[in-house]
Symmetry: C2
Subunit: 326 residues, 2 copies
């Protein structure tokens, strides 16, 4: 991607990131103490999407994403994946300010017991809110080909989604094992097809896989794994309206599209679903849409967050309205 | 100013704004209902500074500035002044999201009794937080002459500060009436000098007024009211370091400077203060700096919000450290 992104991968950056993670694990907030409080500050042009908020009751907690083992062990691009652990929660929100170029969150640190308790209090309907998106400098806007990636990048994205694939299998496995009729599963930006083929393994006899990707090369790769693959922009879904049982949207995050694109695309995706169909919104990094956007599109949100092992992550499940029986 | 701003003054806009104010007074939030909740949305290029937050305990309340009578009765530019009334509080913050181009706050509406109670719970140390600043489109950035205004605009600014002048007299009157030695009062962007001369009326024999303005014409106007007036940029204070007893900063708001400028200017202003000196930060519209910025500059914040009549407004009072006696 651009030069700012490759800088994140330098050994000095990784070392600094590992120190941040160690400080948060140790509950050492001195690095964020300033004036009369504690503050996280991020440039809007750098990584404002590292900052997140979690509302528990009416108390807003401040979170900070830390470096993923995927970076250290596999050289994954970017620094963070989408997994939130207890140490990513820092304290209670005390101030909030954005400027033309940065964002600053104030927090009152909590001790480890309170941070762990807050982490445990996150339910499937608690939203992990990443309120700030990267502002691209003029000349670095995403183009229509923004989500085209090469095979090596795709392999790393696959790795970044490993835990999400497992979660998906465990969530949908029981009900799909006994499906009585065909299930049409659609991935409008399917990349290598890995995610959808993994899902289809839950019931290969019943799950009909339909992929689509902007990149002809990626579509070729996906054809080895999926039953039908279309080349094309997800803004123009290749499937008929009201034809899909379950749709996996894995690309509406900041690295791939703009918020404006994501908002434009969501209703078009929703339109491909059968009445009572399911839309799953996930991403290997923070999403650009949230429960309010989904509800605004007429979808009924039944889950916003997944919990697995020692972490939670954004995982939205929602349904279209079922037709009333006549 | 630019064309967007003059549009705010059209009769259709004023009518729409009066409707918003009437709806908030009536507790009618249907205009903000969307999907499964209530949402305020503002374009970053329009008026995101209308949105404000108030933290009471650890509960964040959402606020929305409404049209000022100054607009309706006096044709003041812009729509809002800095006064917050009970009806400007809407409810409890439930979601928060910014994009490249807008900001969206979700809220759970409160009834009138709860809104009035929240308004009454605002103390002198509760901050009125305006977290979002206007993002100017390329070509419309503020220049170094950004805070130059003509005499007619200055007269309207005077009007917009009338309540602030009165509050200032009432806050400082008692202690200044009995001043035993000279008090140096400095206004680094004094405009017509009206504010500082009004302050000096509290004790004309003791208060020494020093004004400064970027505009030679404005400085000429101010000379009729103030003892000393310098022409020059507030980034280069015309007074000596450690020479000022009380400094009134009235220009660090979004219509006048950028956040980057405001942050650069604040420490320079603070440096002009005597040990134990006072800095008052106010503005006819939302400020770009807050208690965290003041504390970060080494100032001790003793007040953030003023209450007067039926309203509250941002009014920061802080002190430099006193010298320890030898």
């Amino acid at each position: 991607m651009d030069s700012a992104q490759s800088r994140w991968l330098g050994p000095d950056v990784i070392e600094a990131e590992l120190k941040i993670r160690a400080a948060l694990l140790a509950g050492d907030f001195t690095g964020w103490a300033r004036g009369d409080g504690h503050f996280l500050r991020e440039d809007l042009a750098r990584r404002p999407q590292r900052l997140f908020l979690v509302r528990l009751g009416d108390t807003w907690h401040v979170g900070y994403m830390t470096i993923s083992d995927l970076v250290v062990e596999h050289g994954m691009a970017g620094v963070v994946d989408n997994r939130v652990r207890w140490h990513n929660l820092l304290g209670v929100l005390t101030s909030l300010r954005t400027s033309e170029s940065d964002v600053r969150l104030g927090f009152r640190p909590l001790d480890e017991a309170a941070r762990r308790a807050a982490f445990q209090a996150i339910t499937p309907m608690t939203e992990l809110v990443y309120p700030f998106v990267q502002h691209r400098t003029p000349g670095h806007e995403l183009t229509g080909e923004g989500w085209e990636v090469d095979a090596a990048e795709a392999a790393l994205l696959d790795l970044g989604e490993e835990h999400i694939r497992r979660y998906t299998r465990e969530l949908f496995g029981p009900r799909l094992a006994e499906a009585a009729s065909d299930i049409v599963a659609y991935d409008p930006a399917c990349s290598t097809g890995r995610f959808l083929s993994d899902f289809a393994s839950l019931n290969p006899a019943r799950i009909r896989t339909v992929g689509q990707d902007l990149s002809p090369q990626m579509a070729d790769l996906a054809r080895a794994r999926l039953e039908r693959v279309h080349v094309g922009d997800a803004e123009q879904p290749a499937v008929a309206p009201f034809s899909v049982d379950i749709l996996f949207s894995r690309f509406l995050n900041a690295e791939v599209v703009s918020t404006a694109q994501a908002r434009r695309i969501l209703p078009r995706l929703a339109l491909t679903l059968k009445p009572g169909g399911t839309l799953v919104l996930l991403g290997h990094t923070p999403l650009l849409l949230d429960a309010a956007d989904l509800a605004d599109t007429g979808l009924r949100v039944v889950q916003t967050t997944a919990r697995q092992d020692d972490h939670v992550f954004q995982y939205y499940v929602c349904h279209t309205q079922r037709l009333r029986s006549a």
